[in-house]
């Protein structure tokens, strides 16, 4: 083989390689859609545009009752009523943010996901990278039943929602104990310390969103008031309070689960450890998430939920539409259905998703008020009304971000 022909072959191979690389690089969706007209469109126009479309909803799929509600009630209903196909994609906070960041980086104008289920932390992150589309909530007819004057609804982690995300449900953080094992559970840091020393290894803090929420409740107690963390993030206040919190935890670390050598990565693990009898206390949103776990047999019927003496955080969770959603009108239709009295009633069933409705009773039509009143009450878990007097606002998102980082460096790695 001559040098010339070998060179030609090499250059041919390189050309093919380059061609394929360019083809791969050119695969990003470059279609641009102008959805600004939707912000001024009437609901009839939005409904018409959304009909027959396919919507992808990215949500946390860690609970069988939530999955059941979405897959076996919401998806068939939106299909029947609006001819919308609802596809579910698994993912929560970090996954949603990663997806949006990746698509923005690749300049993908028509993303994979249309709507997302988020909390204040993700709202903060998505706003930071301009990942949310809106404002759109005012245009939803069923939004008229929501009280946007309620500070627990119109403010998400101390940020005004500005109709950029639609409230979906509301709940309060609560602690759970087994009354068959503990007569009086600890309700403040002093009592918790005494309990830990008496029953070593029976308490831990999960290194996730839920665990950090517990730490925020502790931080609020150290501030000396349920309103101690309200307002914008203050570095000085955080430093002072968090130093006291780390000192408290490290002082008692040896009495934590596994001697404080490690901490569970997720709240679900804490729930398992509580169910196994390894832990005395568990905690979570949805007033502790007791009902579902008792009904499914994970927790005994003797469990009870309660709020921390200084208060536990109450907040709403929301639905957002992504900036590069290809089906914004259809996503609005689905969100409007999700906040309808009918879908909210179904969602609040104690043997189902058991979520507090986001709707204001006084704003709802009377027939729906009656239906909500007739809804069976919880048998085991506390209601939000029971804990309401001890509700505190979600602090600014920076508290959560700093707690995540410092809990690792000041406690886990020490």
């Amino acid at each position: 083989m001559s040098l010339k022909s070998s060179g030609r072959k090499r250059s041919k191979t390189c050309s093919i390689l380059l061609g394929v690389v360019l083809l791969v690089m050119g695969c990003g969706g470059e279609k641009t859609t102008d959805d600004s007209h939707l912000k001024k469109a009437s609901w009839n126009e939005i409904s018409g545009e959304g009909e027959g479309k396919e919507v992808t909803f990215m949500m946390w799929q860690g609970s069988p009752v939530i999955n059941d509600y979405i897959n076996n009630y919401v998806a068939p209903e939106v299909r029947k009523r609006f001819n919308i196909t609802l596809n579910i994609s698994g993912g929560q906070g970090p996954e949603i943010v990663q997806l949006v960041m990746g698509e923005k980086q690749a300049d993908i104008q028509e993303g994979q996901v249309d709507m997302v289920w988020i909390n204040g932390e993700t709202f903060f992150q998505l706003r930071k990278i301009d990942g949310l589309w809106g404002p759109f909530v005012k245009q939803l007819p069923h939004a008229a039943y929501i009280d946007f004057e309620d500070p627990y609804i119109n403010t998400d982690f101390q940020q005004a929602i500005n109709y950029m995300e639609c409230p979906w449900s509301i709940s309060q953080f609560a602690l759970t104990y087994d009354s068959a094992r503990i007569a009086k559970p600890p309700a403040n840091l002093e009592e918790l310390e005494a309990h830990l020393r008496q029953h070593p290894g029976t308490f831990t803090i999960s290194n996730d969103f839920t665990g950090m929420t517990l730490l925020k409740c502790f931080l609020a107690e150290l501030s000396g008031s349920p309103q101690g963390l309200n307002g914008a993030f203050e570095e000085k206040k955080y430093k002072e309070l968090s130093n006291r919190l780390w000192e408290y935890i490290n002082r008692n670390k040896a009495y934590f689960w596994k001697g404080g050598d490690t901490f569970p990565r997720e709240q679900t693990r804490v729930a398992q450890l509580f169910a196994n009898g390894e832990l005395d206390l568990v905690y979570g949103y949805g007033e502790g998430g007791i009902e579902e776990k008792v009904l499914s047999g994970l927790y005994p019927k003797s469990v009870k939920g309660y709020a921390w003496a200084n208060g536990t955080i109450k907040n709403a969770n929301y639905l957002g539409i992504l900036q590069n959603s290809p089906q914004k009108a259809a996503a609005m239709q689905v969100i409007n259905f999700l906040i309808s009295p009918e879908a909210q009633l179904k969602k609040s069933a104690p043997d189902g998703m058991n979520a507090n409705t986001i709707l204001d009773f006084s704003k709802m039509p009377e027939e729906w008020q009656e239906k909500f009143k007739r809804m069976q009450k919880r048998q085991y878990g506390p209601s939000m009304e029971d804990l309401e007097s001890r509700a505190i606002e979600e602090p600014a998102p920076e508290y959560m971000i700093r707690l995540y980082e410092d809990f690792r460096t000041e406690v886990i790695e020490k």
Partner: protein, 284 residues
């Protein structure tokens, strides 16, 4: 014709095996210097400084290497012992199937399985409680998410030991170790000498590349440490994913620094291990 086939094969290898890796590495490198990324603002070395100054990467690397090394050594040692003592039984129907069975179980299942049997409320703890050896769950020893990584090491051993048993059985057969052992014995070697001078050198020499590859594989494993590991220190893959998914978006680039460092270290290790051998072949 043959040349054309070779070129197409090379092209397919480059496209499928090398190009995606190179593209991902390039992306991670650019991200780590702040050159790409939605929240990044241009070239900076601050992420490298922060990631290297924290020392987390080095702790995690040493921790991962120690666990991978112990797991591989124990698996290889166990597999050699099993091959030496039970090779005749292992070639028979039922036992042969038992050896293959663990290979079909994914790492994530093994992780959960180990968690279910070794945790403080797991199967063995319940047995211990039933017989009155422990009164409380907390009295059962820490075997998962533990400081000594016992659960992780056991999971890794159960994942790779069967593979090494099968590998050694094959080498034993293909390299006619049986015949060589008989020959050595007939020349006066004791059974210990046969093991040390014939059995072990042949099997280990033939399997050495796979042993190193399994070490690298365990170094980067994810599911087992995610389920059975501690929150600190963490094995490398768990650390990288944690950094990439962190809530502080301004620090995501530090995760890419760790990923780049890990890739460079593993690539250098692989080159150091595999290159001299190639040179020797060509020199010979």
């Amino acid at each position: 014709m043959k040349n054309k086939g070779t070129h197409l094969g090379l092209l397919a290898f480059l496209l499928l095996g090398f190009l995606p890796f190179l593209a991902a590495f390039g992306y991670a490198l650019l991200y780590s210097f702040g050159l790409v990324g939605v929240v990044n603002k241009g070239f900076t070395i601050q992420f490298w400084q922060a990631a290297l100054a924290s020392g987390t990467f080095f702790t995690s690397f040493l921790y991962s290497a120690a666990i991978a090394l112990v797991s591989v050594l124990m698996s290889v040692g166990g597999a050699l012992w099993i091959t030496l003592k039970f090779r005749e039984y292992l070639n028979r129907g039922f036992l042969s199937m038992v050896t293959y069975l663990p290979l079909a179980i994914p790492g994530i299942v093994t992780g959960f399985f180990v968690l279910q049997i070794l945790s403080k409320a797991g199967f063995f703890a319940r047995v211990a409680h039933y017989f009155g050896w422990i009164q409380e769950a907390s009295e059962f020893p820490d075997l998962v998410n533990d400081r000594l990584a016992i659960g992780m090491i056991l999971a890794f051993i159960s994942l790779i030991l069967p593979f090494f048993v099968l590998l050694f059985l094959n080498i034993y057969k293909n390299e006619r170790v049986e015949d060589l052992s008989i020959l050595a014995a007939s020349l006066g070697a004791s059974s210990g000498q046969v093991t040390r001078r014939v059995f072990l050198p042949i099997l280990l020499h033939k399997a050495r590349i796979l042993i190193v590859l399994y070490f690298i594989f365990l170094l980067g494993s994810y599911e087992v440490p995610l389920i059975l590991g501690q929150e600190s220190p963490q094995m490398l893959s768990v650390l990288i994913i944690r950094e990439l998914k962190q809530f502080d978006l301004d620090k995501i680039s530090e995760g890419y620094v760790v990923a780049v460092c890990y890739t460079i270290l593993v690539s250098i290790t692989a080159l150091v291990i595999f290159l001299p051998k190639r040179t020797k072949i060509y020199a010979g």
